[in-house]
Symmetry: C2
Subunit: 272 residues, 2 copies
């Protein structure tokens, strides 16, 4: 089954709620909303929010329970792409076949749109219910997105750009830059469903395996990163083992985890 | 009495806690911590966190009750300066007599250090107790810092840079860009003290008056902004009236609001 078919309902729900969260609001300048919407609605598989909803379902929750976390994480992912594409960072003119946000709206508006998406993510998380759940989400998302997580990985990646990195460095960068946000996507779903500590641990393990595998598969497709320190065959084997571990977790949750299992299969199918 | 003398205890408490919050943590790259610390400890009057502690005291709370909010808001103020100074925005090489963050650490690290400070601000707010207070703080701070607040004002300011702005535009920009963060600094103090709704409204009014006055005084000192649409005498009168309103609120809180009153006096003394 195709990704879009399998997650049709989740994707429709995410698009509807994301549009609502990013609608232009009275009194703020139109340009910032346009830049935020442009960045958020230009392609993208919505892998992270789909994962959040899937993890919530696996723990017995409903999509509505997890949507605040799902949208917040997608906004943080979006902001990170907008800032990564800037001339001072990756200097990319195109993303997903369209001009990058700063090429379309100028650098200043792209920087501010990224800042606004990050800020809005935390505003959204406060809508989660009850309050102790909301505050746990804010904390986990901030930790995953900050200097110990996504930003830390990005900084380490930039710092090592001009030289050959070791396998250990690639693992650190991938676990932080890509892995932490995917881990917290799964975790946010479990927390939103009111999962038990044992379920939360299992879902976290699923997210960690999937997150690292995601980066290994990306590097295989782009022929960089892990491919600089491993043969393609070894990298493919590593990705397959990690995805196998994720599938074992999904299996332990029974039929409610069908979507978690499918997300793992989807990633497996991308291994070249 | 000098500002530094009057707020000696608050300033010492803020520095100690800010240093602790920004200490380098294991496993993250050193450069990002250095850039964050450099931005946070290069001069600065700590007007916003001092205001948060003063508003908390006026409502019967202790410094410890309000420190999470105070530090979070100072971090957001700091990140906004780091991003504002970037070449794509104000393109400033110097701030407070030192090279700006991007001149010292490069543009990429300055962008990421700003992102990290914003993210860390929300992580810190989750330490406020109890949880319903923490979530209210996250919400209010996100709203004040986002597209309806600080970022919205910054975008409007940039959009109108090349032409003469009306008084109405100056008011909108100042209320958003400067005013909202000062308003929420006061509000965070009141909320942290567990203030009554009536006290929260009064403190919010104090913060709004002080926030707008702050920008008018800044424009008077820099001979720009409001001075483009008002005579210096009219702008000074406007600032003095706003500060007078803030002082009236402080008076209504009695002797516990001595510091709120002093902050208003301090601003009044800066009117040239």
């Amino acid at each position: 089954m195709k990704y879009e078919t399998c997650f049709k309902d989740s994707l429709a729900f995410i698009e509807k709620k994301l549009q609502k969260a990013l609608r232009a609001r009275e009194r703020s300048p139109a340009i910032i909303h346009k830049a935020m919407q442009y960045a958020a609605f230009t392609g993208g598989k919505r892998f992270r929010p789909v994962l959040t909803l899937a993890a919530c379902e696996a723990c017995g929750g409903k999509p509505q329970d997890a949507i605040a976390g799902a949208l917040a994480i997608e906004m943080i992912h979006t902001y990170s792409l907008v800032h990564d594409d800037l001339p001072a960072l990756d200097n990319d003119d195109m993303r997903r076949g369209h001009p990058t946000c700063h090429r379309k709206f100028g650098e200043a508006n792209a920087i501010l749109a990224g800042d606004a998406l990050l800020t809005l993510a935390f505003e959204l998380l406060t809508e989660a219910q009850p309050e102790e759940k909301a505050i746990r989400l804010v904390r986990e998302v901030a930790l995953a997105a900050g200097v110990h997580g996504m930003i830390g990985g990005q900084v380490a990646d930039l710092a090592g750009e001009s030289r050959k990195k070791s396998l250990k460095e690639h693992l650190y960068i991938s676990r932080c830059k890509t892995g932490q946000l995917i881990r917290v996507s799964a975790l946010a779903g479990a927390l939103s469903a009111g999962a038990s500590p044992r379920q939360v641990r299992a879902i976290t393990h699923y997210g960690e395996c999937l997150g690292l595998a995601f980066q290994v598969v990306d590097d295989l497709l782009d022929k960089d990163g892990f491919c600089d320190v491993m043969s393609p065959r070894a990298a493919a084997g590593k990705a397959a083992r990690l995805i196998g571990q994720a599938k074992a977790v999904a299996k332990s949750f029974g039929p409610r985890a069908a979507k978690l299992n499918y997300l793992a299969d989807f990633l497996m199918s991308r291994i070249p």
